[in-house]
Amino acid sequence: MSDVAPEPVPMPAKRRGAQLIMLALAVLVVMGAYANVGLAMDDAIPSGMLTYGLSLGGLMLAAYLVLAKFAPWADPLILPLVTLINGLGLVMIFRLSESDSNLPSATLASPNSQLMWTLVGIVLFSLTLIFLRDHRALQRLTYTAGALGLILLVSPLIPFLGQELNGARIWIGIPGLGQLQPAEFAKLALVIFFAGYLVAKRDVLALAGRRLLFIDLPRARDLGPVLITWGVSLGVLVMQKDLGSSLLLFGTFIALLYIATQRVSWVIIGILLFAGGAILAGLVFDHVQQRFEVFLNPSDPALFDRVGGSAQLMQGLFAMGSGGILGTGLGQGHPELIPLAFSDFIFAAMGEELGLTGLMALLMLYALVVQRGLRTSLAARDPFSKLLAGGLSFILAWQVFIIVGGVTNLIPLTGLVTPFMSQGGSALLANWILIALLVRMSDAARKPPPQAIQNEGMTQVFQR
């Protein structure tokens, strides 16, 4: 073996070129959408199109350069896909603000502030990539992240700091800056905590226990963490009236538990616990009960006319119905009739103007981002990044499922943002940081491993 020099390992492709082309394509699609909106609504290319297009393009080019410098092996698709989703959200918000009506959906949509938040999001994305050179540093912060997540989660309950808007107490006011939804950042911190915690504890959670019928039951004392998370998420549900975050938080923990232990029993326990808690909450608390009523009978006229009733949901369903298969075309529908069309119901607004065909494409874009994330988790070399990448991709997918399921009345509607599309700074910033973490981990996973020493007696090493 010693007389043969080991062949140099062929490098897996970095695919930076493919990334740049896809990125350019994404920006072009977004500019096309702007032009489409302008042509349909004012018979002219909107005057701001070049500004929008160039600023989005410039931002993405900057993000690309940072990525190429600081995470050269990163996955080539994540950034272009997210760019397109973010850009389409910007176009829809722009389109809503252009519609000449006095409905709040039109007057409250502000494309400029959303573009500004996108800018800040990309700055945060770049800073995360520049300063977080090794994602395993986060593993050392497991419990810090957990504490931070909890503090962020309960911060809206603090008097004077917290504010209640649209029936949910999930905002904190920052003097001079406006409001922030700390729960969005709490999600990130909590996923880091779950991943770090489960890396340490997964063996005991996976192995100890008894087998009953077809499932492996865990020991009673190992249920502690599940019960604590359950309690916290129910607390969020009750105290802050935030059904979405509660479901998101608990679902993510159960998914990570499943990824770490590969035990179906945890999933079953989790679903039973949450269903039990939700039914109990439905019986005791009014706002949960109302959501269920609306979910079961959205077309009931009495519910439709009630304040906080099913009007919003039905307007969204009407919008998607009038969109049909091919949609009304950008700028040619009336998505401004849906309450909150620029945030919670942006998916329904998209459905009206792009139709089922466009919605499927959008869902494909999300699915591809999630697939890249799960792929990163599969290829990652250390258990912490396997769990973290799996958890971050799951939380993205779960979020899309909860809000799209809510808007299409598949599950009870809960107020969650559609990632990267809805108007709202906090979610956009948190999601861009999430993407930066995924990019950082995919860089680590795709980087060729350090070479082993080759002359080890009879051992023959092959690698390709």
Partner: protein
């Protein structure tokens, strides 16, 4: 703007949106359908290292391990008395860079003139022909062993 133009723009935009999705899938094609590399000939590193003692050439005893499927296709390893480990770890005898293989996936070792395959607690399992290897199992000649995307078999 006429209705027809707007209709055409609308259809064109949807087409472009799907074109983007398909292009994205194209970029990760190798992920979904495997790489389309030509089967490599026996690799240089595989031939050398004459076994210290020439195999005793007993009838029916395998002398070579051949990779018949997967990215390392065409690789051969001469069988000696030393066990062979397969996995993603750099110290494995056959290093497979395959996301579906574990770092220490499976082991082949000789015992009483037979080669035995043993799964080392891999995530996705080792398959001998079509059945999952749950305990050390003797490997007949020419029966495929599957580790992730890699298929190997023993030959004379």
């Amino acid at each position: 703007m006429s209705e027809l133009t707007l209709l055409l723009i609308r259809l064109a935009f949807l087409a472009v949106l799907w074109f983007f999705v398909i292009a994205a899938v194209g970029v990760i094609r190798t992920d979904l359908f495997g790489s389309r590399t030509a089967p490599a000939g026996p690799r240089k590193g595989a031939k050398p290292a004459k076994p210290a003692a020439k195999p005793k050439n007993k009838k029916g005893e395998p002398r070579q391990l051949v990779v018949t499927g997967g990215p390392l296709q065409g690789t051969t390893i001469n069988l000696t008395e030393t066990p062979i480990t397969i996995g993603r770890a750099n110290d494995a005898t056959l290093v497979v860079s395959d996301d579906y293989a574990s770092s220490r996936h499976a082991r082949l070792f000789p015992q009483d003139g037979q080669w035995i395959v043993e799964d080392l607690g891999s995530t996705n399992g080792t398959y001998l022909d079509r059945s999952k290897v749950t305990r050390p199992t003797p490997v007949p000649l020419g029966v495929p062993i599957r580790v992730g995307k890699t298929v190997i078999e023993l030959r004379k």
